[in-house]
């Protein structure tokens, strides 16, 4: 069977080679890179602009951004027809292609996040390394952590006030450089679509900016959600009488920190959400106003074929409802959870509507293609490019985050920065 044939249904005049070639993994790709970029921007709000209210979530967001970073290229690799040749992209980059820039932008960004993390946790690495060094009768785990922490110090054991001050300065500089690079990382993902002149829906210079804004929105939302979940787990553990950290005061303290952080972060989420929605609506209005040759088919896709996924799921459930939820006074954790889940759903639907919606009509402008997401896999292709492949990509950063927090603890650290 031809690639794409399995999940594509053709209606009216569609040329023989046309199928939905870019399937759910290409929806996941901008979604995941968006989360990376968004989480980093959230972390930088504290480090660069000194927004002290976001101090608690800044460290959290940076570690989470690092976990997300590893998951970001996975959808593309899963989508490639020759995944083992993916390295060719780095060996013979063809710089007129937006995808070719991936290796450079991604590794630059990765290096910035890794360096910032190193400066942020250097003191912790040194302390842990020295503590474990002194400890007698180390068990296997302690020996392993001793090796990891010692290696992570990179031989820099100076944790004097002066050295820590230098670390702080380095973090600030890296976070400042990181913001444009994070925006570039996601802007270029938008450029991949926006520069395809053959596709009437994608072809707009607004695409990179729309992608950046929704990336920040989704990244902040995911950080908030994960933060809430983590804090709830901490609260639950603090409640357990068997727990050594048990104390009702501790539980109340966690609760108040959680509510304050979420209230503050929600304000920034709302701010970026307004920009994201405005830009998307502007693009839609502009297309209708200029009504070029492609508008007839675009209108039929936007207002008829994809009406539900664009106006009901993306704008209605994904934008309008959370917008109202965040605007209403007296924010609660429960409301915040509903809001951020809907925001993330909205951003996912935006990616879906761009990627799948952009392929929903024929190049002839006289036919349509319908995409049926493979749910039950019956071969490798339907597994990796189906529901399970997409879910695996989404779950991956959480698993990584769990293991990363063992080395980069996000709570209970004495904050020097």
């Amino acid at each position: 069977m031809v690639h794409g044939e399995l999940w594509t249904l053709k209606e009216l005049f569609v040329t023989p080679n046309e199928y939905i070639y870019w399937s759910v993994q290409i929806v996941m790709y901008p979604f995941m890179t968006g989360l990376v970029a968004g989480a980093f921007v959230l972390s930088s709000l504290y480090h660069v602009f000194g927004i002290k209210e976001l101090k608690d979530i800044a460290r959290f967001a940076l570690v989470f951004s690092f976990a997300l970073l590893f998951a970001a290229p996975v959808p593309i690799i899963l989508h490639l027809q020759h995944p083992f040749r993916g390295i060719n992209n780095l060996m013979t980059p063809h710089f007129t292609s937006a995808i070719a820039a991936f290796g450079i932008v991604f590794s630059t960004y990765g290096a910035i996040v890794a360096s910032e993390l190193w400066f942020l946790y250097r003191k912790h690495f040194v302390e842990q390394s020295q503590f474990l060094k002194k400890k007698q009768d180390k068990d296997f785990g302690e020996k392993l952590f001793y090796l990891i922490y010692t290696a992570l110090t990179l031989g820099s054991f100076d944790i004097s006030k002066e050295a820590q001050h230098k670390d702080e300065k380095a973090i600030k500089i890296l976070a400042a450089i990181g913001i444009p690079v994070a925006c570039f990382l996601h802007g270029y993902a938008g450029f991949i679509f926006g520069s395809v002149k053959a596709n009437a829906l994608w072809m707009t210079p607004l695409m990179p900016v729309i992608f950046i804004m929704s990336a920040v929105v989704s990244g902040i939302a995911l950080c908030m959600l994960t933060y809430i979940v983590t804090m709830e787990i901490r609260k639950f553990l603090a409640c357990k009488k068997q727990s050594p950290t048990y104390s009702p005061e501790c539980r109340e303290e966690i609760k108040s920190v959680e509510v304050n952080v979420i209230k503050m972060t929600a304000k920034y989420l709302l701010f970026f959400l307004i920009f994201a929605i405005s830009l998307e609506l502007l693009d839609l209005i502009f297309r209708g106003y200029t009504a070029t040759k492609s508008w007839d088919v675009l209108r039929s896709v936007i207002y008829e074929k994809d009406f539900n996924s664009i106006f009901v799921f993306q704008y209605g459930i994904g934008n309008l409802i959370p917008f109202i939820l965040f605007l209403l006074p007296g924010m609660t954790i429960r409301r915040a959870v509903v809001g951020v889940v809907l925001v993330m759903f909205g951003v996912f639907m935006m990616r879906w509507n761009v990627v799948i919606g952009g392929q929903a009509f024929s190049l002839t402008f006289a036919g349509y293609m319908h995409y049926h997401l493979p749910i039950i896999p019956h071969d490798w292709e339907t597994l990796k490019e189906g529901l399970f492949g997409a879910l695996a990509v989404f779950i991956m950063p959480f698993v990584l985050f769990f293991f990363l927090t063992k080395i980069f603890p996000i709570f209970g650290l004495k904050e020097s920065h």
Partner: protein, 259 residues
């Protein structure tokens, strides 16, 4: 050597090695051969829509010549049927790329539906063969992240099956929908004007198979070439000129309905 010096020297060494490495391009022997092609040649294709009857022999010949599985619903070349009715409606189709010719008068609407059009309702009807336009400014070459799609000096856009990563960006970038994934090799596939044949002085498989002379190939740089003479002296059209790709497939009798 202290740590600072060591780091400095490492950075210098990495930068020093990376720059010349980035300049090295790995070429396959097939690509080197293609790049040696004679630049006094620019292959162009001429399609006479008045002569095409939609028999599909060209599509069949192309599939056989270029290892495109016969049953696969993709093809390097295809024929479209256009029917304009007196009430101003346009119907078009290309069932299986017209591999078996248009054997039924019913228009294929997809999703298992067919439209029967009475002869007396037809204002005009015609067939249009399509194939890769071997653009002067090919978007597929521009977007290929690894350079697996490239243009030979004689204008033909070729695909290196051993280097293509299968991302599909070229398929998305082509405004003519001529590209697809090869069902067997899983790499980007398209018409290459039967490059293996034209370089030996032969006609393409589709040109040779067409019993009506609806398809012709020639060298546009040769003033004595019969195809070049028609393209340069008669009124011929190209597809989707608005994309600025400068197609090198020219049509006689092109209609505005054809996209």
């Amino acid at each position: 050597m202290n740590r600072r010096e060591f780091l400095k020297n490492t950075a210098k060494a990495v930068a020093g090695v990376t720059v010349p490495l980035a300049a090295i391009e790995i070429l396959s022997p097939a690509r080197v051969q293609a790049l040696k092609a004679d630049s006094s040649v620019r292959w162009a294709f001429l399609v006479d829509t008045y002569k095409c009857v939609g028999c599909g022999l060209c599509v069949k010949a192309c599939k056989n010549e270029n290892e495109i599985p016969y049953e696969a619903n993709v093809t390097r070349t295809w024929v479209e049927r256009y029917v304009l009715t007196k009430d101003g409606k346009l119907y078009a189709d290309s069932p299986k790329g017209a591999r078996d010719g248009f054997t039924s008068a019913k228009i294929d609407l997809g999703m298992g539906k067919f439209q029967d059009i009475r002869k007396e309702d037809i204002k005009k009807a015609f067939f249009v063969p399509k194939l890769c336009n071997q653009c002067e400014n090919p978007p597929c070459v521009q977007v290929c992240p690894v350079g697996a799609t490239y243009q030979a000096p004689d204008g033909v856009v070729l695909v290196d099956r051993t280097w293509c990563i299968g991302c599909g960006y070229c398929i998305m970038g082509c405004p003519y929908g001529v590209r697809f994934f090869h069902p067997k090799y899983h790499t980007a596939e398209k018409c290459n004007f039967c490059y293996h044949r034209i370089n030996k002085g032969l006609k393409t498989a589709c040109v040779q198979a067409c019993p009506f002379g609806a398809r012709q190939i020639g060298n546009i740089k040769d003033p004595n070439d019969p195809v070049a003479k028609i393209i340069t002296t008669e009124r011929v059209g190209i597809l989707k000129s608005e994309f600025g790709t400068k197609p090198q497939v020219f049509y006689i009798g092109l209609d505005e309905e054809v996209r």
